[in-house]
Subunit: 337 residues, 4 copies
């Protein structure tokens, strides 16, 4: 952290800042220029410290130099993180596709969908049992009933399952059934939920908040890791912008950046951002070309009957076509499929 003093700062003001930095646990190093004094603060950056200093009238600017996250960073762990979920390696050389309907709406339909996903090349099954909906009057999910259906689908297909959790109740219940717990975009800064997940033994798929910077997203992962759970999967899913033809703007720059700053696996969910199945295939190909370790895609045998997110779901046939193209792009960039 660098503290830039005002041009006219007096010696005693400078000393006051240095004292304050030392109280906050920083080592200090003063540099006296012709016009200004600059104080280097040695130690891990803290948002509290930046604020505490910026409020001092003699301070012009506080610049944070090192990144605020630790366990998430490449400095903490230079090699890429990879782990196994029921035989599927996440974060390895091979691209992993998680697929399935947005919500679990009934046993028969879900199991049919699961079988299609398996047949067409998906390796992990997705499905929502607890649904965060903007309206209190919309379908909110089958809850534990939905989880049971997912577990049954896993038994039939052998595919591990990933599902969204919303709070400590759903974490507790979902952890009994699911193989991976998902944090949705609206909960990326639900810090209590993140802490809770830091104490489970299930891998966590952490979606980026729709208005979160990449740095905030990595800090959310830090919350989970700092609780002891090191199996976090980052998932870019689009950010909120002024463009209205898409639901959200998929930020594929986030893929190489998150992989540069962090050792964690980076997945992409193109379905929610696009909001339209027609753009899911090109965006999935683009995600893999940009370096993504995997995808989270909505697939529904009969999208027109889905209670939620039908317009953005691929049919099994379209999903198969996408998988064929994905294989070729993955090979093109030196990945396996």
């Amino acid at each position: 952290m660098i503290v830039v003093m005002n041009p006219g700062a007096a010696e005693e003001e400078i000393q006051e800042v240095e004292q304050r930095l030392q109280n906050l646990g920083f080592g200090i190093h003063r540099s006296t220029g012709e016009n200004r004094t600059i104080i280097g603060a040695i130690g891990a950056p803290k948002e509290d410290a930046k604020e505490a200093l910026e409020v001092m009238p003699c301070v012009e600017k506080v610049v944070i130099i090192s990144q605020p996250f630790k366990m998430v960073s490449r400095e903490y762990k230079p090699e890429r993180t990879a782990f196994d979920v029921r035989g599927v390696t996440i974060g390895g050389e091979k691209i992993v596709v998680m697929a399935g309907p947005c919500a679990v709406e009934g046993a028969e339909a879900y199991i049919l969908a699961a079988e299609e996903v398996k047949k067409r090349g998906g390796e992990i099954l997705r499905g929502g049992a607890y649904k965060p909906r903007t309206s209190p009057y919309s379908f909110q999910g089958l809850e534990e009933e939905g989880l049971k259906i997912m577990a049954e689908a896993r038994e039939k297909t052998g595919l591990p399952i990933v599902t969204e959790v919303l709070d400590h109740y759903s974490v507790e219940i979902a952890a009994r059934y699911a193989d991976i717990l998902q944090v949705g975009t609206r909960n990326m800064q639900n810090f209590r939920l993140l802490r809770e997940l830091g104490h489970t033994d299930k891998p966590v798929l952490l979606k980026r908040g729709m208005s979160a910077t990449i740095e905030e997203w990595l800090m959310a992962a830090e919350y989970i890791m700092s609780g002891g759970n090191h199996r976090v999967i980052l998932c870019e899913r689009g950010i909120r912008t002024f463009e209205t033809l898409t639901r959200n703007t998929l930020d594929l720059s986030a893929v190489p950046i998150a992989r540069e700053l962090s050792h964690l696996p980076v997945f992409v969910d193109p379905s929610h951002a696009a909001g339209n199945w027609k753009w899911v295939t090109p965006l999935s190909l683009a995600a893999v070309a940009a370096g993504a370790d995997g995808l989270l895609v909505e697939v529904h045998p009969r999208p027109q009957e889905a209670l939620s997110d039908g317009p953005q779901s691929l049919t099994p046939d379209k999903f198969s076509q996408m998988i064929e193209l994905l294989k070729r792009v993955a090979e093109g960039v030196g990945r396996k499929f």
Copy 2:
């Protein structure tokens, strides 16, 4: 809701859409134009229904005409909502100022701050006991200890207290101490928390999510009201944009719009958006001029010692100066102070 069919839609496709609408509980009205058929769907709009129809290939567009919120709307309750909190009327003719430090950091300092707030014209005390922080390594609040300090300050000053809640634990505990429960910007779409608050008997101050549309904000209020708690205060606090000189962009257009669409009181928090105390006074004046029913302002006797949000806190003297100007602007727009 209006369903616009594709130009070439066949009679049986139209009938399929009509059947689907009827199954979803809508009355229907077909209109056959030269090029297109348009089907009016009579009944309350539903996000599910829009999606279910848009996925049908014969449908070009689905347009929602009425607003998705009900109890929050002026149609549901044409007169403005006002209610009493320990003798202070929220939503009445009089502008109400909630003020105090961002976080409760210790008894002595907080009670000093509370006394200053009272002396200078604040009517409700703010203070954070549970703090949502972007870093797991930042100060997270004094929790119940902080609430006890706030209650003590209330006893000393007679001012009611408002504090943020994060989850069902903090709701349960805070409801024992606080007079108003606050939902922070990052939790505006924490639907479980909203439902929980719908079942308490405390008024709720609902901050707008930093990337939430006005409509989503009102839907979040609908969650609380639909649970039975009708005492909701809307609070605009800035949205995330590309501008970097401010922390967030205060959206004062949201004040007249929220007041036009809803009967609920609308407050403004200029401190978090500005991120700098220098801009808090002009933005507070602007908020009242735009029609706000009250303000939520950070005041700290010694901002340079605050552990969080010091740079945006007013000193008591600056707070007094602001109050004087507020009185005159409030009168200018026909409000009391």
Copy 3:
């Protein structure tokens, strides 16, 4: 400007950076810390220089400390700029309202509007003769014919006139008729146009680009001032965000900030941002409360007949009501009307 070297930077790399800074005209001051070397670069910041240094692999970060604008800044000219336009003082104690229809659509209607504006308290007449339209098939303005009508309205009412210019042709022609030349939001970074206006002798009303930061807006004013024209009026008119109920999000924080960073007068155009006349009055009051020196408002005697921007135009009666409230708010914040 501060150049932060990488932790492991070698002595010769540091010297290379210092050499480069000196070649770019900076004085230098090296500060050797435990982990890093920091080089202070003394002199005016330059975007070129920042880029030239950031590309060097031994450099971690370049931080610009002083503002990039000069003539626009309070350091260059501490007292506020005020100037006279045909007897109306812009930037003085008194709030100035510029009003009129969006576009000049015909002599009779425009002169009627002008007379209403004068009668109701407007001091400067607005009107568009050259219209930038998103569609090539929309009405593009009456061009010189429109300017003649505006000049006639000035003769009848005595009010000075402000009109938009688009390129060197329209600058040349409009400068013959108008008293103030306006740069629209889409042209804020049309640097050729800005240079052209730097060489005219007419005051320039510079609208903020809808995706421009405050700093970029001030740099656009710097272009005009650096050409020799010091009579620039800044005009906030809303920025592009994700909110869809308003056309743009009026950023009233920009008012106190632009007034803090610059000596130039700051106006606000609430009509284009709101996109709906109902919100124009509260936003106008808010703008004046926030410290604006004046307003640019659309007024049309018969909004339903306007060829452009009818929905956001006030009728003369609504305009009168707004002026009454404005007087009281202006007095409240110590301004005249």
Copy 4:
């Protein structure tokens, strides 16, 4: 266009709307529902018409159904547009890479860069002679001198050249030297410039405005096409969002969408959006995977000596590595290289 009347609209109000629609050149079709009347307006949508109707108090909402652009659309021309520029086919099966330094800074360096681009697989040379800079004190380009250098580089390498134009002067001069004229992001809605380019016989590369919607971008292309110049290349280059790690957020969803809505070739410029050469290769691969017809990439033999945009320039070696990967991804998605 569909006009939704207010629930209580009277017969005479409805007739007034119908009359107004007919005056505006629309055919009409009334549909009387239980609660509302809806009037279908048959004919091309017009922004003027929407506004003219929305201002009528009896109208609740006006919904535009068809797209506002014509010549740009797939309805106007279903087959994809492809054309030849000195032997290079733009918009064909083969991916085309335009590459070179951001600005022309001197003959020797530019010609060296040009030879490297050719040797490594670029097919068109880029270079800026007229530079739009946010500061009036930054390097503004070599102007005609720069164009002469580019023409010399074309002679030496045989590669066609593309360069940015800013106004009618630079169009006139650049058209004498360059093979493709480029419109920069800040000029995408400089409608005078677009009209000017509609009358030249040179292909135009139209960058998307950093805050322009896809629809506005296509409308800007419509301006050029409506002037008679049908050789327009769309170029996505990133939009402005809240994310600060990248200069702009590259919106790759715009690639499949622009290709679906329009027949024009779609290129991507990853260099300006990324702002850092490290992310240029993954984003280029992603762009081609998403369906882009070509790329515009910054390449500089010695980025650390570039006067502008050095940090985002690839060295020739990195460019070669990227080309190798591009070939494989292009083949993966069925394109040639």
